[in-house]
């Protein structure tokens, strides 16, 4: 039984790795600030929590598991707030999101 949970945990971690790669590609390829912030927060929130859950499953019932839960809670609290702060700062300093299709220059290009 423990073996199965450990394998599920590993699956979680591999998924987390996939997510972070996606996030990294997103940061490089997305056209404007806000989409890039979204991609970064995927890595920051999604991949990190998935990895923590994976390790939680692998750690089984031990003091480490409790610590991992606290870490997961902490990530859940801070990462979205960080992304929000980043977006707020970007908006505050005058960056406007590109609306419509990025390939065709939209009318209200500032």
């Amino acid at each position: 039984m423990l073996e199965a949970i450990a394998w599920i945990g590993s699956a979680f971690i591999i998924a987390a790795v996939g997510l972070s790669i996606a996030g990294a590609v997103g940061v490089l390829r997305f056209p404007d600030v806000y989409t890039r912030i979204h991609a970064a927060s995927i890595t920051d929130t999604g991949a990190a929590s998935l990895m923590t859950l994976g390790m939680l499953l692998m750690a089984g019932l031990s003091p480490a598991a409790i610590k991992l839960c606290i870490v997961w809670l902490f990530i859940m609290l801070t990462s979205p707030a960080a992304a929000h702060a980043l977006a707020g700062a970007a908006f505050g300093s005058g960056h406007r999101p590109i609306l419509g299709d990025p390939r065709r220059p939209s009318e209200d290009e500032t």
């Binding site: 707030a81 702060a85 700062a89």
Partner: protein, 358 residues
């Protein structure tokens, strides 16, 4: 955390790979054209270094590198860079080649010494087989703290750490001297500066109000936990400073300054170092050497205390008390110095804005 890695060699290979990544980062840093890129590369460099240190079995150092290297350094670098020009002009060849040759000569000189250096990870090398091993063997008997690094840091080589804490005080004194001019005048920074983050947005203030107490608690945990796991005075001090800086970022430097004025911060830095030194003096008054924690508690008093289970019946309450005492002193010094440095840079940014705006 159980390890899944099979053979010890795999660790070495992984470490070598990470080191290659670090070298790549340095190359990127060499070619960077904008200051912000440099700062971010430096931050990534520190974080990867922290990861590499974990792989090299140095959790304490990884912790410090992450908090001091990536956290505080990046913050003050950004603070200084905000007000200066961003683009880095290319250096004239004339002035480039002489230092370049000097660095190459240094590199070759050091590379020549490669053949005599101990093999990577060799347990029989002089460093690992002589004093390092003595520490591992003597710590339970002498000090009784499981974390040998903290034991060596605080007790065996406590004098080094005292020197290092005075280095921090020196940095604090230096920064306050240079940039503190406007700070300790009675009116703190004129208008509210929160480094241009839209203050008062509910999400941030709620998150901050929730997080700051947790961070402070975590800092004290790291301080107390120093003897058992990775942690200690420096890391705790930086985390405490991080909490204060978070408060300043979200609620504005003026609020934080009202809660913790510069005069208090400056005095705490001095008190931290003074506390550390006075523990040394108390040891002398009790008849031991300078910073000899065994002399802190009189043997009669110590006999009454329960003996710690780990050290096989030896009571080391004097050492434990001493280590905790100096770690608190170090935390106080580090936290207040980092806060003072942040005040200095934050205060300066507002001045540059006025200068910029005017």
């Amino acid at each position: 955390m159980t390890r899944l890695l099979a053979a010890p060699e795999a660790e070495l290979v992984f470490a070598a790979l990470l080191l290659t990544l670090l070298a790549g980062l340095v190359l990127a840093l060499l070619a960077a054209r904008s200051v912000l890129t440099c700062i971010l590369l430096m931050s990534v460099f520190s974080l990867t270094m922290a990861l590499w240190l974990m792989v090299m079995d140095a959790p304490d150092v990884a912790f410090t590198e992450a908090s001091v290297g990536a956290g505080v350094s990046t913050m003050i670098l950004l603070g200084a860079a905000l007000s200066s020009t961003d683009v880095i002009p290319s250096v004239r060849p004339g002035r480039f080649w002489f230092p370049a040759v000097a660095c190459l000569a240094a590199f070759i000189g050091m590379a020549l010494a490669l053949s005599d250096l101990p093999v990577f990870g060799d347990p029989g090398s002089p460093p690992s087989s002589y004093v390092g091993r003595l520490y591992l063997e003597h710590t339970p008997h002498d000090i009784g703290a499981p974390n040998v690094v903290t034991a060596v840091l605080a007790s065996y080589r406590g004098f080094d750490t005292l020197g290092e804490t005075s280095v921090i005080l020196a940095a604090g004194v230096g920064v306050l001297l240079l940039l503190g001019g406007s700070l300790n005048s009675r009116d703190p920074v004129s208008e509210d500066v929160s480094l241009r983050i839209s203050a008062g947005s509910p999400v941030l203030s709620v998150a901050a109000r929730l997080l700051i107490p947790i961070i402070c608690l975590y800092a004290f945990y790291v301080l107390a936990h120093g003897e058992f796991g990775a942690g200690g005075g420096f890391q705790a001090g930086v985390i405490l400073a991080a909490a204060l800086i978070l408060h300043a970022l979200v609620f504005g430097v003026r609020e934080t300054m009202r809660a913790l004025p510069v005069g208090v911060v400056r005095s705490c830095a001095a008190l931290g170092v003074l506390g550390y030194a006075s523990i040394g003096f108390i040891a002398i008054l009790h008849g031991g050497r300078f910073l000899d924690y065994d002399a802190l508690l009189s043997p009669v008093f110590e006999a009454g205390l329960p003996s710690s289970h780990l050290a096989g019946g030896h009571h080391h309450w004097g050492q434990r008390l001493g280590i905790l005492g100096i770690e608190t002193g170090v935390m106080l010094a580090v936290a207040s110095t980092m806060t003072a440095i942040f005040y200095a840079f934050a205060g300066r940014v507002s001045r540059s804005d006025e200068a910029g705006a005017a």
